[in-house]
């Protein structure tokens, strides 16, 4: 089983990228985890460019999602919603609509923010977008507020309650993925 991690934040010290790494620690040992690092390279969506072959960064994104059994998203919150570049990447991934690589794919959304609320509104928006795309969105949420204070120097999530929530959320994603993999076998 392979899980892809997609962080909606681009900056090097991103709390959300740390959150993905922290989540990956809770994956069972037999699960391969890949942190996707191609977000910045995705061009703006333009239907004129949505042809075969797709732009290289888009082809990479689609192949990474297609090659994973599940996707773990972590999103920051910009103006009560998800970062434009994450939405742009998902708009690319959602095409062609009827056969897109996220259709039926188990996904889960978590989020971190420097503010108090842990990107809960952005997480809600991202779940809405993923649902519309046709993904199997796991009904779970982890909101890491005051993210500046939640990670230790080595990047570990230092809050025990949040660690428990994150573990439970990762377990739910793995369980959904097992159901899908078993059904396809």
């Amino acid at each position: 089983m392979k899980v892809l991690g997609i962080s909606g934040s681009l900056r090097g010290g991103s709390h959300n990228t740390k959150l993905l790494r922290a989540a990956a620690e809770f994956l069972p040992p037999y699960v391969e985890f890949e942190l996707w690092d191609g977000l910045k390279a995705v061009p703006p969506y333009d239907e004129d460019d949505d042809i075969d072959p797709a732009p290289a960064a888009v082809a990479h994104l689609r192949a990474a999602i297609a090659g994973a059994d599940a996707v773990l998203f972590a999103t920051p919150e910009y103006n009560s919603s998800i970062p434009g570049q994450l939405k742009n990447a998902l708009d690319w991934a959602s095409r062609p609509i009827a056969t897109n690589v996220l259709r039926n794919k188990p996904v889960v959304v978590v989020g971190a923010s420097a503010g108090a609320f842990g990107a809960v509104w952005a997480q809600g928006e991202l779940r809405k977008v993923l649902t519309a795309i046709g993904a199997r969105v796991v009904d779970a949420e982890v909101a890491v507020g005051h993210a500046d204070e939640r990670f230790s120097d080595d990047g570990a999530l230092a809050d025990e309650d949040l660690r428990d929530q994150l573990r439970e959320t990762v377990d739910m994603l793995v369980e959904e993925t097992h159901l899908r993999v078993a059904a396809a076998a």
């Binding site: 009827a98 039926n104 649902t131």
Partner: protein
């Protein structure tokens, strides 16, 4: 001289299989300003009527067989937020009671959609068996009922600018069944 015809109260005896080419389940649901229609096919159904009148009717149709006029809409209907075809690939029905009076018929039974089962009752008409052009014998059933889709976990909606839902909860189902004698 007048002829008195006694109304029939049972179905034709024998085992009957649905003709999947000509049978379908239509649906109609209010959407925004009109009625949106589509259908499901191919049907798989079998009716067995014993000499003593005992009747067994079971049927199913694949969710992947939803017929609408756009492949993207079809994909949406099959996605996890709608029928979830991957996890619950079939819609099924099993009759619990059949009542006939002349050419009118009522069938009660259990309808399962998206893994959730609820009792329904459908009403309609039945024809007498007739020889068909293919060397067989068949009769027709037309049945209608209305279900509340939200009872079956089909909760999708999209609010209109005035805040009201764009898609109604009540869905009319209309079955057109051609049943061919085995």
């Amino acid at each position: 001289m007048s002829t008195i015809t006694e109304a029939k109260h049972s179905l034709p005896t024998g085992t009957w299989n649905v003709d999947p080419v000509h049978s379908q389940i239509g649906f109609a649901v209010e959407y925004v300003v009109g009625t949106f229609r589509g259908s499901f096919s191919p049907l798989d159904a079998k009716l067995a009527v014993g000499e003593d009148g005992t009747t067994k009717l079971v049927g199913s149709v694949p969710v992947a067989g939803v017929r609408v006029q756009d492949e993207n809409l079809s994909a949406h209907l099959q996605s996890p937020e709608f029928f979830d075809a991957e996890r619950t690939p079939d819609i099924s029905f099993s009759a619990t009671e059949v009542r006939r009076s002349g050419d009118e018929i009522a069938i009660a039974g259990d309808l399962t959609i998206k893994g959730t089962t609820h009792p329904i009752e459908a009403n309609g008409t039945i024809t007498d068996p007739a020889d068909d052009p293919y060397g067989g014998v068949r009769f027709g059933l037309k049945l209608e009922t209305t279900i509340d889709r939200t009872q079956f976990g089909l909760n999708w909606n999209n609010p209109l600018p005035n805040g009201k839902p764009s898609l109604a909860n009540d869905v009319k189902l209309a079955a057109e069944l051609y049943l061919v004698k085995e």
